[in-house]
Symmetry: C2
Subunit: 352 residues, 2 copies
């Protein structure tokens, strides 16, 4: 993890792997750029790390490489797209551009998208709009996934259901990027692989008993990840999950009623222009008043200081741009293997 | 609690108290109707129960009784209103009507409102739009309130920050009505008054230690309610709280930067028309597929069956309309006192 790489070398590597894997240059350019930005923000689970997962999807044709999305409906401030399983980063870049343009006109723009492929790190996307002065909200679910049981139930039905909100502030954007379950599928896999238990009962076994054991997802009957609030007040996380699936599946007209099995991402994207409301100045005045009250809050025992979501990303971005990007060994192991298969040369770390 | 009252007698009582308290008939009619519906839905903390809290606000002029809201901005799909501390139920009824009309045209309508007075039970409001076939989301905060500390901090800064989502389904609307903290201010007061402790550490004392003791809110330094997720994963509830305050305060241009001390409600209301997206039929097909998968889910130990938010409200409404409305003794105690002061006669229960 110690070695650092330039953003160019990470992006070039992602681009080379994706194009050798069958993605055309124009789409690979966009995907590689967003994956690199994700690593720069320190979200190393969703940057270059994703490429070895995308390559088999490209090889099997499950990630579409040609054509474009279909416009299912367009009413100006609301849109529905069918993403045709094209690369999610590429689709979302266009969706963001269009929604920002529409929000400038209408004040708000909402786009529900069905059948995108994986859209990657949500705060990499919301940050694009927040940097441009917009409020940006993304809800996403995968109707083929079932990892979370409804509160009070035992059989997994829901995805972790990520949701993100990005908005401007005086210093750097606030970047909320969270989900409706206590932990994520990738975190569960990480704990299974490293034979660790969670510190708290974040899982439910197949009989509905809370447990710290991530292995319950590989047992029969299959266990699940608890919704936010856990066994204590998980009805709140369940409420969030229902909201995310309603926005991303019911509004886009594609979801669990179709018993989907293909890896994909349904998306609900909303962009708002504070200038159409009370103005960007009034907006950032209120955001900064609240952020200041939080950051200057006397910390609880064991806490150094209160952070606003996005503070760590801003620090990581500065560090990445001055010192270079470092990635976990686990990422390099899988990337090295993929590069070997495709005959792509690995970059050299920054000397120093 | 055993005695039942007709909806007419509850509504007449609320109307009589409010008009004697100084609210003009037209506004009192709307407020009394929504408070009665709230009691019919079984949310007895927010129905007739609120009238004794509104009366001193009317008497002191802090709840405005005449005039109307100011339109701060109107871009068709987005609006900002200044509510001038008029009764929240009355303002929200007009806001909902307008947003439903605008959503029919634009697909989506967002209204940020500053300086409303208390808007009451959120699901009573979202239900109006959901029954008419719309998706309805309400976020509300009171910039004069401070009950929840930022995650990692110790000093209360945020309100519990309620948020609600209502949307159509084949049987009855889904009515999510929750908040960004584990419990509410009224629940804390109830536990303080009845000298009870919470079963789990839902509170934080003034030094930042989790506790089951609700009395920490009356100590110095003042304790707080933990955000959803508690000390385990309360960064998720904190993220929700920041989102609710951003939507309701920053977009409306009025919030904590002004050191507000007057009881009020800032609101962010969003209405969407599924017909402008993939259609209402496709919408309810997906909602029902998910609801069925949840309701038929094998229940966890100690659970009778999984419920969808809104199921209990639907049952309570049926019961209230057939058997009458019953209210807790605590509500009758305060209402009886207020009725005595204003010379309003109490209704008789339904004989049975």
């Amino acid at each position: 993890m110690a070695e650092k790489y330039s953003r160019e070398s990470i992006k070039d590597l992602a681009f080379a792997l994706l194009t050798k894997g069958g993605l055309p240059d124009d789409k690979a350019e966009v995907v590689a750029e967003l994956l690199t930005r994700t690593d720069e923000l320190g979200v190393t689970t969703h940057g270059l790390s994703m490429v070895p997962y995308y390559l088999p999807e490209l090889a099997s044709g499950k990630m579409t490489t040609s054509g474009t999305h279909e416009v299912v409906s367009d009413r100006g401030a609301t849109m529905v797209w069918d993403g045709n399983y094209l690369p999610g980063h590429w689709l979302m870049t266009q969706a963001l551009d269009l929604c920002m343009e529409r929000a400038r006109t209408h004040g708000v723009a909402c786009l529900a998208m069905r059948r995108s492929h994986h859209i990657g790190c949500l705060s990499t996307l919301t940050r694009i709009a927040a940097e441009a002065g917009f409020v940006c909200m993304i809800n996403t679910s995968d109707p083929s996934g079932a990892w979370v049981a409804p509160f009070g139930g035992t059989t997994p039905v829901l995805t972790p259901n990520p949701w993100a909100v990005g908005y401007p502030a005086a210093d750097h954007p606030v970047l909320i990027d969270t989900c409706a379950s206590i932990t994520t599928v990738s975190k569960v896999r990480e704990y299974v692989n490293s034979k660790r238990q969670f510190d708290h009962p974040w899982m439910l076994d197949g009989a509905g008993n809370p447990t710290t054991d991530p292995n319950v997802v590989n047992q029969t009957p299959k266990g699940s990840i608890l919704p936010v609030g856990g066994s204590d007040h998980g009805h709140k996380g369940f409420a969030m999950a229902l909201t995310v699936e309603m926005l991303s599946q019911a509004l886009s007209g594609h979801g669990r009623s179709e018993s989907v099995t293909r890896w994909g991402g349904n998306v609900f994207l909303q962009v708002m222009d504070p200038e159409a409301f009370a103005g960007l100045d009034a907006f950032t005045t209120e955001v900064d008043a609240l952020n200041t009250a939080c950051r200057s809050n006397p910390p609880a025992p064991g806490v150094r200081h209160v952070r606003i979501p996005g503070d760590r990303a801003a620090e990581m971005l500065t560090r990445s741009r001055t010192e270079g990007i470092s990635l976990p060994d686990e990422v390099w192991t899988r990337v090295t293997e993929a590069a070997g298969v495709l005959g792509v040369r690995l970059p050299r770390p920054i000397s120093g």
